[in-house]
């Protein structure tokens, strides 16, 4: 009995001195070991990528693979930039921005109707989209290809934008509906009683309040479209319609065994998202798990 009491009081002391993590008395050996093994698993390939991109083709064969480059160079980056990198980047940017705007706009309108008026068409839309959450886009590529060809859109950026936007909608609507439902309806009623139109009530009440959810949706959808590979692969063909992920396979074919140039292309293509990560890490990570993190 006395023994238990001393144990308790010592624990309480620990709690007082370390309010955030009371149970961290003993060292977490397993966690520590795993965390450093995983650090190596993640960091070594990334380090190899960056370090290799600065090697000349000659020193790539002579240097030790993880040593600093003996003759560092930026030639590989220049080679990639000279081989249509800016065009691929522009294509990716256009596809991502237009598709994301489409997703956010369509999803916001639908989510607003569903959240405030969950009957009839709105309710049906929500059921279809919830079901659609489970449809793998891979299963639709043959008919999507046929539809795009029929519409005369094959090998255009619009051909990539439309289906990419369509498959971004279900999760976007789900996130926004869950968010908009928490806005008290009396806010809208007050706006309406003050003489605002439905449009005005939506734009002045719902839109500003939904800003954090819209940011999440934009980040999640934007990254998915930016990284998309399958739709560009089947729906475009010519070089001037190529987006970055597809262009990486082009660079691999072009540079073949010039490994430093290939990995320079990989690094360059990843820089825009890495820049976002540096600017707003928390916001980006929160956006990545979208509704799944709850």
């Amino acid at each position: 009995m006395a023994d238990t009491r001393t144990k308790k009081s010592s624990t309480i002391k620990v709690i007082r001195s370390q309010p955030a993590r009371p149970s961290k008395k003993r060292l977490n050996v397993a966690g520590g070991v795993l965390s450093f093994v995983w650090l190596a698993v993640v960091a070594v390939p990334l380090y190899w990528l960056v370090i290799t991109s600065f090697r000349t083709q000659a020193t790539f064969f002579t240097d030790k693979p993880l040593a600093l480059p003996s003759d560092p160079t930026l030639d590989n980056y220049q080679l990639v930039l000279e081989n249509d990198f800016w065009r691929y980047l522009a294509n990716s940017a256009i596809v991502t921005i237009v598709a994301t705007v489409l997703i956010v706009a369509c999803a916001f309108l639908a989510a607003y109707a569903i959240a405030r008026n969950g009957r009839g068409v709105s309710k049906a839309t929500f059921s279809v989209l919830l079901l659609g959450l489970a449809i793998p886009l891979q299963a639709t590529i043959i008919p999507v290809y046929l539809l795009i060809v029929e519409m005369g859109l094959y090998d255009t950026l619009i051909a990539v934008i439309l289906p990419s936007a369509a498959f971004g909608l279900p999760i976007a609507v789900l996130i926004l509906v869950n968010f908009l439902r928490d806005i008290p309806p009396s806010l809208f009623e007050a706006a309406r009683l003050d003489g605002a139109s439905e449009w005005r009530a939506m734009l002045t009440v719902a839109l500003p309040l939904a800003r954090p959810a819209l940011a999440t949706v934009a980040i999640y959808s934007g990254l998915n479209v930016w990284n998309g590979f399958l739709f560009p692969l089947i729906l475009t063909q010519s070089e001037d319609k190529r987006v970055l992920p597809l262009a990486l396979t082009t660079y691999q074919g072009l540079f073949t065994i010039n490994v430093p140039a290939v990995v320079a292309a990989v690094v360059l293509s990843s820089l825009p998202v890495i820049a976002l990560y540096i600017l707003g890490r928390r916001q980006l990570l929160a956006g990545m798990t979208a509704g799944f993190g709850k």
Partner: protein, 301 residues
Amino acid sequence: MTVLATKRAEAKPRFGPPASLSVPALALFGFFAIVPLIIALGLSFTRWNGLGSPEWVGFDNWVTIFSDPAIAHSIWLTLGLMILSWVIQTPIAMLLGVFLAGHERYREILAVIYFVPLLLSSAAIAIAFRNLLDPNFGLFASGAIPFLDQNWLGDPDLAFITVTLIIAWQFIPFHTLLYQGGARQISQSMYEAAALDGAGRVRQFFSITVPQMKYTIVTSSMLMMVGALTYFDVIWILTQGGPGDATRILPLAMYQTGFVANQMGLASAIAIVLAVVGMTISLTITRLSGFSRMESQMEGE
């Protein structure tokens, strides 16, 4: 008071946005997701090379799906990838997620690095590993560590596990992020109570952390399984399904049947299999997961 509230809930709200606001989303999604699914179902009963008009062949493609050894092989590989991915990714992601839930400075620095693979596209990851594992020019080609000096992607016995591990490298950070979020929502007081009762770290992990994260586990598992069913980009760039058919999982089999061999009917049948299995997994697990929970909470209010 209660009666009044119920009455008001039942009465039509005086104001409300027109339902037509949902038309753009419905039209876009219907046209590029629902309609294609119906077309694929129709095409799965035809023979068609993509030109001319499809020829009705009844259940021929479906008989092929269930009898062709190459497709059976793809189905087994897909199932294998699904199970292996879960077995490899779940324990690592869960442990890392719980570890990163702590707010110590060094853990936050580790987290910054851990999440970098999330920033790379599938194509970037595939091209990077293709070069890193190249048997002639890659990281291990010098033979400094003989065990690692293998033809990882070119050896039919190794290619499948190599691809599975690269996919794990790509997706563990995402699931770690989910588990980190799940672990941070567990109330500290539960651990304090358990510590007072003398429960050790392992006991706490299995009696508090794991049960408290069950919604995260369900969500993460669902995404992993449906993901394994639909992996395309990474495998297509790394091996194109090879060597031979060593990594030819269903989505690759479908792509090659449709766009390389021009058998649109058979490829559509494979697509329907993918859609049905994918939707069955998601809908079954979603009933237990956070989505349906969020739904019912909302409806209960």
